[in-house]
């Protein structure tokens, strides 16, 4: 089969060929970029939190009427004891903000107490002594808080406070690159000495740049339930629903009239799914558009090739009459399609790159990874070959006798 013959035949249908090339190029550009967007979304949705997500449930409880701070603190201790006594509960704790929750608490942190020192905003977790174990955090250096280090939130925010702090490994790397952070001092609430570094803990919600997602601080604070959420760690992940139900029941039957609603009780995994629901919706939408694009492209190939086959019936008959086999005819149309697809893909790659640059201007996106190009090319070649198969088979079935008939 000679490319030259095919090319000269294609030259007779310049407009139609150009349209097909354009169509393949556009869908190549759009599909590559859409798949890239889906990829980045999925990556974002799957970032680990450093927390034992499969075993954690959370219950948000609020008081209906105003009570004294002492009474609330006492009630918190009673609640936590009751929660820990529940069957299948490994540990229970209280925290000021939950992962994927609504609230986001952060403070300006700097390496010096001078007023002009550069400051970054870092999220802060307040919790009691059981918090690290309940969350399943892993210590990368230093130690956990000692029991006598726990303070109230007024003491933490008070004038001249010197409460110790545990920070994440990413934050430690940011402040003290290449050095151990344990024993160093940061300034968040007064003066805070770093006693430990956890392997990983993330912000409750996306805030700031991508690298700051892993910046977090942990402070030893005994919180009243009115300012936090109860966390429960279960033995087996299947028991979460059951444990949350019994926790709700325990909190409802004990203590003053409180808001204990199933709406505010959930597993951490459910909270994650809810937090990323817009991303997931977006990913499905993109998948849908990509599929439609590929279908439409295939439809275009089928339509135009069918037209060409019908138009060249006589020529095909002549070629068959002078000795071309069915395979020759089939291969002719396949090669023709391959050439058109190749032009389309080549143009499409350039367009894809341009579209990526355009998207980068408007959205927080990286460069299109190089491997998208070969994968996209192979996909489009495959689709166009499948689409051309039907019309090409029909062409190969044209009997040689057609050559002897006038139309």
């Amino acid at each position: 089969m000679h490319f030259r013959h095919i090319l000269s035949a294609l030259g007779r249908h310049r407009i139609a060929v150009c349209l097909l090339v354009l169509e393949i190029a556009f869908s190549c550009a759009v599909v590559c970029n859409a798949l890239f967007l889906i990829g980045t979304r999925l990556e974002r949705m799957q970032r680990p939190t450093g927390v034992d997500e499969r075993h954690i449930g959370q219950v948000h409880v609020r008081s209906v009427s105003a009570t004294s701070p002492e009474a609330i603190m006492a009630q918190t201790r009673t609640d936590l004891a009751a929660l820990r006594a529940l069957p299948n509960v490994v540990n229970a704790s209280i925290v000021n903000q939950t992962l994927f929750g609504h609230s986001f608490s952060a403070s300006g942190v700097s390496l010096s107490d001078a007023p002009q020192a550069p400051t970054i905003h870092v999220t802060q977790y307040f919790g009691n002594a059981q918090l690290p174990d309940t969350l399943g955090l892993k210590l990368a250096g230093g130690r956990w808080f000692k029991l006598d280090e726990f303070v109230s939130d007024e003491q933490l925010e008070g004038e001249g406070a010197t409460v110790p702090v545990i920070i994440t490994r990413a934050l430690a790397e940011h402040f003290f690159p290449g050095r151990s952070a344990v024993g160093k001092v940061i300034y968040a609430f007064g003066t805070n000495r770093i006693v430990g570094v956890v392997d990983r803990l993330v912000q409750p919600r996306d805030y700031g740049t991508a690298e700051s997602y892993e910046y977090a601080m942990l402070f030893p604070v005994d919180l009243p339930y009115a300012q936090g959420t109860y966390l429960l760690r279960v033995k087996e992940s299947e028991q979460r629903g059951e444990v949350i139900r019994s926790a709700l029941h325990a909190l409802k039957t004990d203590g003053p009239l409180r808001l204990v609603s199933p709406k505010d009780a959930t597993t951490l995994e459910a909270a994650r799914a809810k937090y990323y629901r817009n991303d997931r919706a977006m990913a499905w939408m993109l998948v849908g558009v990509c599929l439609l694009l590929l279908i439409v492209t295939a439809v275009g190939i089928v339509g135009l090739t069918s037209f060409w086959v019908a138009q060249r019936r006589r020529q095909i008959g002549i070629r068959r009459a002078i000795g071309a086999t069915r395979g020759d005819i089939l291969r002719y149309f396949q090669t023709e399609n391959f050439l058109i697809a190749t032009f389309g893909i080549a143009l499409g790659m350039a367009l894809a790159y341009g579209l990526n640059l355009l998207l980068m201007l408007h959205y927080e996106l990286g460069h299109l990874p190089a491997w998208y190009f070969p994968v996209g090319a192979v996909t489009l070649w495959a689709i166009s070959q499948i689409a051309v198969l039907g019309p090409a088979l029909r062409a190969s079935n044209v009997p040689p006798v057609v050559a002897t008939r006038s139309v």
Binding site: A16, V30, V64, M282, V289, V299, G303
Partner: protein, 434 residues
Amino acid sequence: MFGYYLDLALRSLRRNKVLTGLMVLAIALGIGASMTTLTVLHVLSGNPIPGKSAQLYHVQIDPRDSFGYRPGMEPMDQVSWIDGMNLLHAQGAQQQALMTGGRVAIQPPRTTLDPFFEAARYTSAGFFPMFDVPFQYGRAWTAKDDQDRARLVVLSHVLNDKLFGGKNSVGKMLRLGGHDFLIIGVLGDWRPNPHFYDLNVQSYNEDEGVYMPLTTSQDAGFDHDGGTDCWGNGADGKDMTRNDHCAWLQFWVQLDTPAKATAYKQFLIRYSEEQKSLGRFQRPPNVRLRNVMQWLDYNQVVPSNVRLQTWLAFGLLLVCLVNTVGLMLAKFMRRQGELSVRRAMGASRRMLFTQLLVESGMVGLAGGIGGLLLALMGLWVVRHRPAEYASLAHLDPAMLLITFVLAIGASLLAGLLPAWRACHIAPASALKSQ
């Protein structure tokens, strides 16, 4: 003549069912996808308060200390209690309202309901006349109630339905966060989307059930909900009304003419200068006055996801169009014989061209109907997605019209080139080759 063309077009479309079907399908897919996303974009970027959005302005001033100051930077989005109260009492605009969001615990009068939290709006009295809020029962409170920190509330009709079964509850008492409040009004159907006056809470589909005077909420010690921006050594202290280093309130004004808006801006600059000379502000006066749509735009309220989807859908429409051009070219070129006969019988090129365009238009119409069905299906899918704006996705008459205009316009555009090509063949040679 048009009728004849229609008849010809129908015959021709029927003769070649597969090709016609493919063309209609391509247009329907393109139109369906772009209409689905356009409708979502249209709903999301809609004007929450049509007719008044150009007269309502969100006020921004910059009360921060000089630390971190760069010329040209944006002032804070919200105002502190002291600035808000100063501006409110200055009465510099026709209407003004100082407000923030909150959550209150409701103990329902019916014991069958458990206590629950409800989103609340703490605001000064100007809110209701300024935003043209409709009332189903009762009335709004007055500036005097603001001053007196009166324990009264206005309920949304959704909450009234939930608590009182939709009956007139004006005059009844409601227990909120351990205090008793008198119900003085129930709102009518009022759900501005997006929730423009406070974007710190969810932007879409958020409607507060409880409205109470801002002063009352602080008197009762209710926590506020939403954004709080503090500067300097401002973060400590639980009483937000004494803290002049935290901005947590939204201040809106109504200014009916551009001249009044300019004058109000001057007033804000004067206020900033005055506060600077008093030593409260340290930065040069930095004020912004944005009307509703500018404010939404500044905050990029339409999720960038939706905008991206819309571009993608137009990409799809473009591919569908190119595809249709190709298919129409195939279809029209196939009919060289027929067209040549018509030419030989005396039809002008213009007439052939019109005939072919009528045929494209019919494909567009069929594609539009298919696209409409696909768009309805697409919107149904969107409504069942768990995105926060999902339930808003409905097709309105304007979008319906756009669907057909877009479909027919697109197919006519797609038909132009093939039709032009087809009526420029030499009839003699085409007839001879038959």
